[in-house]
Structures are given as structure tokens and as C-alpha cells.
Subunit: 389 residues, 4 copies
């Protein structure tokens, strides 16, 4: 077990989790978006808040952007601001769902003009990538139908393939296209990229630099997500995670809050395939909504939860596991996995942080800085950033 | 079958469906609220639009209000406007979820001040009822928790019981309290009134004028809704329906759009118990969101869908059904039900409308009036009504 | 509409639905298998019962076998018996889940000996195909895990790919391999072929004669099945349907009994792609359990339900639909679909049957034959066929 | 924390978990029941196996019976055998689902003769209770419908109420009636006692000695079970638990295997209300199927899992929790709960066992006894007990 502990520490020291800029702005449900004093009013403030998470955890060195939510005049300036704060710009997310033109879809829209507009937006996002040093174009489409018959399911797939090909053609050689799937919402009858199979088929058609994004909240009830992880790794096309958690639909709660055992199983599948290593090409990101809880502490808790699940996954005695599996010892094999899960790894992670010159408890350390009070006092005037802004 | 047809026509002539004022304003998802030219800017315009539905279907003579969405200075004037348009004010819906104070709940909030505020809002709604002649106070609470441990599940039930009792005490003798339940959303871990059992327990504790509201989109996946209808009727506490339809969560689509067979089964349970008659005390309402489709035509289609399902339910040969059931003829009994469902009742309803001096096809007739173009041209300036307004 | 009616009649006259031999034996749940007098005691009697369905509907000319449930000494004799009864042998289904050896899986089992045994069974099935003239090898595997950690998810995929390749290599040139997927059951944690994506990936790896089987009851709650149909047709890999219906899990009820509108949407997707034509290569089969209802009438009702859904799908005015879709008329497009769905097609199908020399109502006509009483009286002694037999 | 640990140890020392006799016999799915050498052939051997679990855990002193599965000529002899083995007979479960007469239901059957037979069976079970000293009559009914229209939903509720009243009248003064609910299976369209609301309504109508049984696997997907626990405790009608776990439907896996965090939340709700104490009247039972894993070790693991969840629930700092809840500190309150959950309690439980003269690791200690090999060698001949036996 000592060896496993040392290996775990080494692996954990390398793990990084990307933060979403939009987690620091306001978010909510269709019923209400609650506001909180101190919420960022622009992408610069979002990056500053994100940097607080990295400062206290040492594990969150990148910030994803969402365009046009994070539209700025000078992306070089934003990248420089990030560098000043000790972080870098990560993936760029396109947003083709908040313009009245996209009422019936973007890349799948029956209207060719709107499809062209959606393609152009993606090319603009690629331009932002060039200016910020980002290499991942992350695409989640809200495209879908609310009513049976509303549009032709198959024709929409053809339009989608065509639009994605145009976007893919616009990528630089060192860039990737990451295509996310989602079971439902905001469309309520049919979604154009509803499952990993659809996303993978499009990626395979596009080329080697297209991969699938797995958002842990984007599946049908009961879906075995670690199985999907295993399948996408087997196909060599797991590009990124959007971590969060859910009890019902796409609840976007703090990762690990709803089902920590599932998060562990996912990370165990990742570790078993060596995909936790930086060389794997899997980008581990958060995608959450802090509707009622404070945002920076929520992100810190999320990073810690991913670290704890990863630590447990690294402590699985894989030799013993393989032996039990091979011999058909059902309860024994399950027991090996549960032994790791039942281990309290909070001390191990605190030791790691201490060895890195970080606070043992990032959540408490951040609270002690008074940062939230400071931004509440300072950020007066202006409009708080939010999903719709 | 001739007799059944005549009886069906007589019953259908009496059927009324209440319309929600908010269906005529904008609505959407957390991702986007699309706007449409001509959308009402105030409750008066909403009532006028609702009256169009009644004018063409003859079956939608009441309009529900939502407070504060439908706040006006003079409710007598609003009621008079409704009368001028040929409709009346129906249920009054309280709204205690769109104020920053309600972030952690309304009647269940841990803070006594906020609970008192929520009670006061309900008393204000009762006042609106007095001014508009409404007798139904409809309560749906967004109260719930996003995280395990966030609050005490049982203490919240106690607070809820206390708050509801205060509201109930404020009712006039001819008023009812209707308590709606909902499986989830906007709360993502626990909802304080999540199922019919919880709603019924509170209604039983309150007294005879408290009844349950069943929203067809507010159940766990797979729930047999007609069974719930049967249970609530057996308990004498089915106060009202909120009709809509859903494929996934609370999609709020046009009733009958997702599963017309389920709507028929629900109406068959209603008809079997005689609860379709005006004397039953069951208020049949719509509660829908027309996010991408035009709103008045969406409401007309909804009314027609309820009428078609009711007509089919009225055509069930209940003698033959009972005989097959009693004799244990599984396929025979199912066949009797399906015979009614498979009948095309559109002609029968067109005949009914013609006999009432109404257009045979209300959807086409409304389209021919040019009303939508007219309001798009006339309603310039002002802010369109919407969920948040 | 007259043209549509004529085209519909022509297409319906060509439609065939394959019957499962096991639907005529006993089936049940884990709680109880109820027995019925007259249930077949061997494959010959099953074929005779299946032939009754074809005799009265004219639309069910093939019978699928399940090996070893339908093990006989002389398959030539069974095929000849089928011919005498006016039907032919359809797909051969392998069964590698009812031997104690398969407790931890068949093709995915960690034990190489058991994997080899499972491959050998499939080769034996191919031999049955040669003797009966069958060209479809249909594979559904019960392989999966009940507990996390029980076996390695990814290693099982590798074993599966290897085993399937061995089976595929054993096919004759005119034979196809059809791979079915299932969300869960009998495995309760992970299933080795749980979704269409997994099945399709294996089929793509195998070669052009491997296609996916879509069982309508084998999906996660809320899955849009017609979307999956569209995807598999687009990929050219929809090999067959297993029709049935479900409210909850894999309930295996009569097709169209739980959600007739869904069945219509599926058939509309099929018709829209021309996949209802015999040349499409899609084999439309039933796979149901008649646990409490009589079996032959249950199959007759099922065939009629598929015919009714197909008839409605053929009546969709596809020109009007395309026009409404292209113009973004959400309610109009939905309305075109619903017009077809709301049409009562029972008369049209009765006319078709009459024109074919068949009874207008096959269900009533079969009941009138007294066949059920006859077999109940004649089939005395022996063990009734059942899933476990 | 020291205080909490001491209190936890004291409470854990009193906790008892009742074992189901049927968990030691064979069980399976509709697809296959696998057999294992050494499986009991009669109720006496089942009790002996159950006693092994108590011998190693010290926490499982009672065994539930299932009638007629556990039919014996002399119940006094069975009770004496249990006493010899150091355990007692717990609840008696009626079984009215495995006789051909019950095809269309038992207490809800349209046929009065069959309803009377089902009542008589329950009275016979009460007689078994008298002979064995059992005080809990546990009723789970498989009653329900597979097809819409098959029977009248409301009439079945009336028959159910009548039958339950007859059974209740037959109880001795010190006996309780425990009514279990289940979402679905084996009925696939409607179940007559599908939810806690229905069960509670019947219990309230029966009288004070009728309470609800909550089986953790008997809910719709996504149901918040700890909320139901809180509701039933608030109503004073939580009579018993059937513990197990599930990923999909009623999977009947080892409790805590699928979602250990959910089990902890349930136990936390129990502990918060003091319902873990023997005086609470809540009977904590297991109800599981060990289809592919060895049965006695599976039961030992289950008992340990309940103990671990309870230990964590007892370690929740409820003062700190209440303070965070009252002050609206969402993340703080959640953090208090998670602190307890993340604690590794295996050492604490090992200490408890050691202090009680029990093995620190019951699972390993049982394996070391060689009992399984012994029964495999000794129990030759006869028919293994199983669900159907």
C-alpha cells in the first residue's frame, strides 16, 4: 500500500482541472437567476476569480472561455491578464443558442443563412483561440426539436455533418474540435447530438483531431457513465470531460455532490487506462452552475472532490483486482474496489498540498482571505455577468 | 354506439378548460427566452389573447392569473376587461420564487422573516381573488434543496404545515386552496412538495377546502398518472389539473403532444368517475410554455387536444369494458379501451362546434383572422411580458 | 389523399412481420411463470401456432427460432413442417445465457474455455441456419456485471470483439450477423452491449454483413427511439427490429400497447427513409412475452398494431410536411404528422385484408375458429415449452 | 469528535438487522436461476446459514420467513432450531403471487373466490406468527395490470381496502401489519400499491398497528428516498425497511453496493430522528438476491455496509449542521454532512466488534471457517430452495 500511496501522490501532483469562466458569473434556472454581491462584471474579473481557485488548490491552472459571453476587444490583453494572475486560457466554447436567429437551431437549422451564421461564429471562436493560445474548440449545440415532425431528423444530421466539416476545416494544425453530446434540454423532443454514439460518428467522419466531450450530467437516467468512458477511450476519442453532478436532469451541481461513488468509478476507469496522465489528451474541465451557493468556494470544493475521487482511484490495488476478476471472485473483486473507495484520502491530499507549499485545506484558506467581502465591496456598478449577458 | 355519441356530445358541450395568462407571454429555458412580435405587455393584453382562444373554441372561458406577474393597480378593471372580452378570471396563482429573498425557499425557508413574507404574499393573492371573483388559490412552491444537508427535510415540512395553515385561515368560506406538487426543478436534490402523497397529507391536515393539483409534467419518469388521478378522486381531493406534456422533465409542451394515449387514459379515468362534469369540482387548466411556437395557436391546439382525448374517453363502451374486466379477459378489456382510442373523433367535435355556432376548425379559423399580424403591428414599444417580468 | 391511400395499400400489401417461436411458449417474470392449457410442447407445435397468425393476417410468413429452446433432431423436418403450415424459418437466435457456465458471461467471460464454448454455440446456430434456409444470425448477449469492479469493462469489450469476429468468420456469404443491444437486465450494474453506439462499433469492425438490432424495449427511460432509427439508417446498419412495448423496463408487452404514438413515430421514420420496403434489408420482428394474456391472439393483435402504425405513417402527407418544416412552421409541421396519426386506419386495413381473401378482423376470425379450445384439449401430457426449457 | 465516537459505538452496539430466509436460497432473473453447491434445501438449513451471519457480525439476530416458501410441518420445531442456532424468527412474509390462481391478482383480483383465498392465506400466516413468536406480518402484493383497461384501477383499491381490513382484523393485539409498496414489477402497466402515498392511505384506514415498509429498490428513478423516510417518520408510520440496492429497477443487489452515499443519507435521516434506536419500532431488514455471488458472504457484506452507513450517520456533527442550516450556509451545511461521510469508519466498527468478542473482519473470519465447502460437501441430494420452491 505504501507504493500505491507514493504513486498516487506523484500522479496527483500532475493532475490539472480546467475551470469554466461562466461558473463565476450568475446562473440559475428558468424560474430565477439569483444575484450575489461581488459577482464579476466582465471576463477579466472572471479570470481573477478563477485564479483564486488555482492559488489555493494548485490544481486549476486553466480557464475556459465562452463566446460571446466572454467577448472582449483585446484577447491578447485578456491572456496577459490571465498570465498575471498565474493561469492560462484553456478551451474556447462556442455559443450558438442565445441569438433569436437560433430559435430553430444553429448548424442544423433548416435555414441555410442561419447555418452559415453559426459556422461563421465558430470560425470567429477559432480566431479567439489563435489570440489566446487555446487549442481546444469545444462545441455544445442546443439544436433540437420540441415537437414530433417539427423538422426532419435525418436531414438535420446531414446539415450538422456539413457544418462541422466547415468548422473543422478552419482549425489550425495544432487545434482540436471537441464535440459534446447531451440527452435533452433545451430541446424537449429530439436533440441533434443526444448521445456518445452520435458525437463519435461525427468525430470519426471529421478526422483525427475531433473528439468527444463527456459531460457527466448529459445522460439518460441510469446510464453507466464509466462504461461510456471505457468505450470512448477504447476508440481513442475521449477529448474532454465536463464535470458536474446531477440527481435528475442536467442539474450542474458541484461534481461529486450527488454521487461520489460514481465519480470514483469514472476516475477508476480513467486511471486504469492511464488517461489521468497529462499525456493522455483528456482535458478535465468543470461545467457547473452555482445557483444558490457562493461561486469561488463552490469551484474550490469541486476541484477538491475531483482530487479525492482520483486519489481513491489511484489507491485501487489493481493487481489484486485483476486476480479477483480473473478468478471470477465477484465479491472479492468488488471488495478491492470498495477498499479504495472507503479510504479517507483527505489527509493524503493535505500532505500533498503542504509539500507543494499550498494550504492543507484550500476551502478554509480561501475563506480566511476575505476575498469575497473584498469583491462585494469593490465591484459596485456595472452589470453582473450571467448566462444571458 | 349512437347513444354513446349523443352522450359524448352532451358532455363535451359542458366541458371547460382554463387558460394560464402566462402562456401568452414569453417563456423559455435557462438558456434563452426567445421573443415574438405581438407578445402582450400587460395582463390586459394577455386576457385579450386568451379570449381569442375562447372565441374560437367556445371551451376556454376562464383565465388564471399569476401574482406578481399579473400585478395591476385595479383588479376590478381587469375583471371588467375580461368580461368585455367574454371570459372571467379563474384561479389566482401565487409566485414566491422570483424574489432574491426566496433563494433558500419561501414557506419552508429557515428564516422566519422570509416565511412571514411568503405568507403575506399569499394573503395578498387572496385579496386579488376577492377583487376578481376568483375562488381558487393555486399554490406551487419552488422550495427545495440543491445539496444534501443544506437544510433539515423534516423541519421544512413542519414550517410548511405552519405556513399553509396561516394561508388557509385567510381564505373566505367560498374559496379553496389548491396545492401543487412537483418531482424536481428548480431544486435539484430535494423538493418540499415532490409527490401527491406529500400534497395530500398537507391538504388533509388543512381541512376540506384544500385539494391537490396534478400537473401532468410533475412526476418521476414512468409514473402512472391515471393511477394518481384515481387515488386522488378516491380520496375526494383532486382539485385541479395543470395540463401539458413532457418527454423528459417538466417540458411544458402542448398537452397531448408527447403522449396522446396517456392523455386519453387520464381522461378515461376522469370520465369513468364522472369527474368531467362541472359539478365535480375538478378545475381543468393548462400550464404550458410556448417557447418556440406561436402562443395563441398553441393554446387553441391544446384545448382541441383535451377535447379530443375527452371525446374518446366518452366513447369507451363502459358496459363492455366492465364485462371483459370482470371475466378476466385481458385482451378483450384492453381492446374495448383501444377501440375508443383508435376512433377518429375530429368530425364529432367539428359537428359539436358547428352546432354551437363555432368554427369547425378553430385553429384554421383563428389563423384566418389575421389577429397575430395585427398585434405584431400594434404592440410596439413597452416590455413584453415574460416569466421574469 | 386518395393517392396516399392507394400507395399505402400497395405498401401494406408487401409488409411482413416475423414471429418469435418463444412467444407461443410460456414466459413470465422472475416471480412466476403462469401456465396455460394448450401451450406448445415442442418447436413443431410452436410453428403450427405461429402459422395461425399468418393464416389470419397474411402478414407474418416467417418464424424465428431460439437455440437451444428450439433444438430438434432434424431441422429439415422442422423446415418442411413450416412449409406445410405455409410459413418459413426466419432468423436463428443464439442463446448463451441459460447454462450454468455462463454465470459470469459468454463471449465476454474472463474464462477462455467458456468464451470458446459460446463461440462454438454460435457456429452450431449457423449450422441450423444452413439446414433451415435462414440467413440471419441474431445475437443478444446477457453478458454484463452486477457489481462495480466485478470485471474489467474494457477487457470485456476486447474479448467481445474477438469472439464476434470468430462467429462472423463462420458465416456463409449470404448470411448476416445481427447484434442486439440492451440497456440492462439481467445484468444490473454494467451490460456489455448496452446501447446502439456499442453495437454499431462492433458491427463496423466486423464488416458489411454485420448490422444492429433495435429492440424497442431496450433503451434508457426517455430515449428517442426514432432518432436511433434515423441514425442507424443513416449509417446503413439497421438490420432488424425486435418490436414490443414497455412502460418501465424491458416489459415485452404487445407492441403498440404502451405508447402507440411512439410506434407511429418510429414507423414514420422508417417510411420516410423507404425502409419499410422489402428491399431495405430491415427485418421487422416481434419479441414479446405474453405472460397473462393468450399467446396467439396476443401475436395477432401485435401484427395488427404494427400494420396500423405503418398505415398511419404511410398516410403522412410528406410534401406538406417538408414544406412546413422548411418554412419553420413548428405547429404546422407537427399538425401534418398528427393528422395522419389521428386518422382511423382500421377500415383501410380491413379493406386490404378483404382484397387479399383474408378476414377483415383477424382477431375475431381466429377466435371464431375454436383453435385455442382444440389445442387445450389435444395437447395433454409432456412439458410445456418455456424460456427455461 | 470523541463524544460522537463514543455515542456512535453505544448506538451501533444496539443496532440489529433482520435477514431474509430467501436470501440463502437460489434466486435469479427471468432469464436464469443459477445454482450453487451447498444451497439450503429446507427452512432449517436456511436458518442455519442465516445464523452464520449473526455469529460473525453479532448484528443479525432475526430471520424473516416467506410463506409458503418456508412451509414446514412444525413451526415450533423451526423456532426451536433457530434458538439453538442463536437467532429468532422475525417477520412473516405472505406470498400470494406464485399460484396460478393469482394470475390477475390476489387481494385485488376481480374474482371474489380468489380474493377470499388470498385473505385466508394471510390468516394462515398469522397462525405461523403465533407459532413462531413473530409479531410482524409483512405484505407485499404482486397485484397489478399489464394492459390499460385490463381492470378498473379504482375498484381494485376498494377491493384491496376490504381485503386488508379482513387481514388486519385477524391480527392479535401485539401484532403489526406492514404494507410494502413497489413502483413496478411484476406488473408492467399499473401496480396496485405503487408508492408510499398509497400504502400510507391504506395503513391510515386500517388503524394504528398498520405501517409502511420502504424497500430501497421500489421507487421511480430519481426518487429522493430519504425524503420519503422523513415523511413516513413524520406520519409515525415507518414500520420497516427492506434494504438492498439498485442501479436500474428492483435489482436487489447488496445494500450499499450501488449508491453508498444514498444509504448514508437514509441512515442520517434515521439517526436524526432517533429512529435507529430499538424503541423506534422500525424493523431494519435486508431483502436481496444473490444471483451470482455466494449468499452467506453477500449477507455478511450487507450487514457490514448498513453498519458502516449507520456509523457515518452517527458521526454527523448535528450541532454544527443545525447551525450552518439555520444561517443559510449551503456549502457549510453540506460540508458537515460530507465530513462524516468521508470518514473511514471501518476501524471504529472493527473496534466495536472486538469489544464484543467478535472478529474484527466478519467477512474474512467467515471465509476462514470453511463453512461453504462443508455445506457444499454435505448437502447432497434434495432440491435446492429457490423463489419458486
Amino acid at each position: 500500500m505504501t507504493d500505491l500511496r507514493d504513486e498516487a501522490l506523484a500522479a496527483l501532483a500532475q493532475q490539472t482541472i480546467e475551470l469554466p469562466s461562466w461558473a463565476f458569473g450568475n446562473s440559475g434556472t428558468r424560474f430565477k437567476v439569483f444575484s450575489t454581491p461581488g459577482v464579476p462584471r466582465d471576463p477579466f474579473e472572471k479570470v481573477s476569480d478563477a485564479a483564486q481557485v488555482h492559488r489555493h488548490t494548485g490544481a486549476a491552472p486553466r480557464v475556459s472561455l465562452h463566446i460571446p459571453w466572454d467577448l472582449v476587444d483585446d484577447y491578447g490583453k485578456l491572456a496577459a491578464h490571465a498570465a498575471d494572475e498565474g493561469v492560462t486560457i484553456g478551451a474556447v466554447n462556442s455559443n450558438v443558442f442565445q441569438d433569436d436567429d437560433y430559435r430553430l437551431g444553429s448548424l442544423c437549422n433548416p435555414d441555410a443563412r442561419i447555418r452559415a451564421k453559426a459556422v461563421a461564429h465558430h470560425l470567429a471562436c477559432i480566431d479567439v483561440m489563435r489570440q489566446t493560445g487555446s487549442t481546444d474548440l469545444k462545441i455544445w449545440l442546443a439544436d433540437g426539436l420540441n415537437y414530433p415532425g417539427q423538422d426532419d431528423l435525418r436531414a438535420r444530421q446531414d446539415r450538422l455533418a456539413e457544418g462541422l466539416a466547415q468548422v473543422y476545416a478552419g482549425l489550425d494544425a495544432d487545434m482540436r474540435l471537441l464535440l459534446e453530446y447531451k440527452f435533452f434540454e433545451p430541446a424537449f423532443y429530439a436533440t441533434d447530438v443526444p448521445d456518445w454514439g452520435t458525437s463519435l460518428l461525427h468525430c470519426l467522419a471529421l478526422g483525427e483531431r475531433a473528439s468527444v466531450v463527456l459531460d457527466t450530467g448529459h445522460h439518460a437516467p441510469g446510464t453507466n457513465i464509466e462504461f461510456v468512458v471505457a468505450q470512448l477511450l477504447r476508440a481513442g476519442r475521449l477529448g474532454a470531460f465536463d464535470f458536474n453532478s446531477r440527481f435528475y436532469a442536467d442539474d450542474d451541481l458541484i461534481v461529486g455532490a450527488a454521487d461520489p461513488f460514481q465519480l470514483f468509478r469514472i476516475m477508476s476507469e480513467i486511471v486504469g487506462a492511464g488517461a489521468h496522465l497529462p499525456t493522455s489528451g483528456v482535458n478535465f474541465m468543470l461545467d457547473q452552475c452555482h445557483n444558490i451557493e457562493p461561486k469561488i468556494p463552490g469551484q474550490i470544493r469541486s476541484v477538491m472532490n475531483v482530487q479525492e475521487a482520483t486519489a481513491k482511484a489511484l489507491l485501487v490495488d489493481r493487481e489484486a483486482l485483476a486476480e479477483a476478476q480473473t478468478s471470477g471472485d465477484v465479491l472479492g473483486a468488488n471488495g478491492v474496489l470498495m477498499d479504495a473507495y472507503n479510504t479517507d484520502v483527505r489527509g493524503l491530499l493535505a500532505d500533498l498540498r503542504e509539500s507543494q507549499g499550498l494550504p492543507r485545506d484550500p476551502y478554509a484558506a480561501f475563506a480566511a482571505t476575505g476575498y469575497l467581502d473584498r469583491i462585494a465591496a469593490e465591484r459596485i456598478g456595472g452589470a453582473q455577468a450571467s448566462w444571458g449577458a
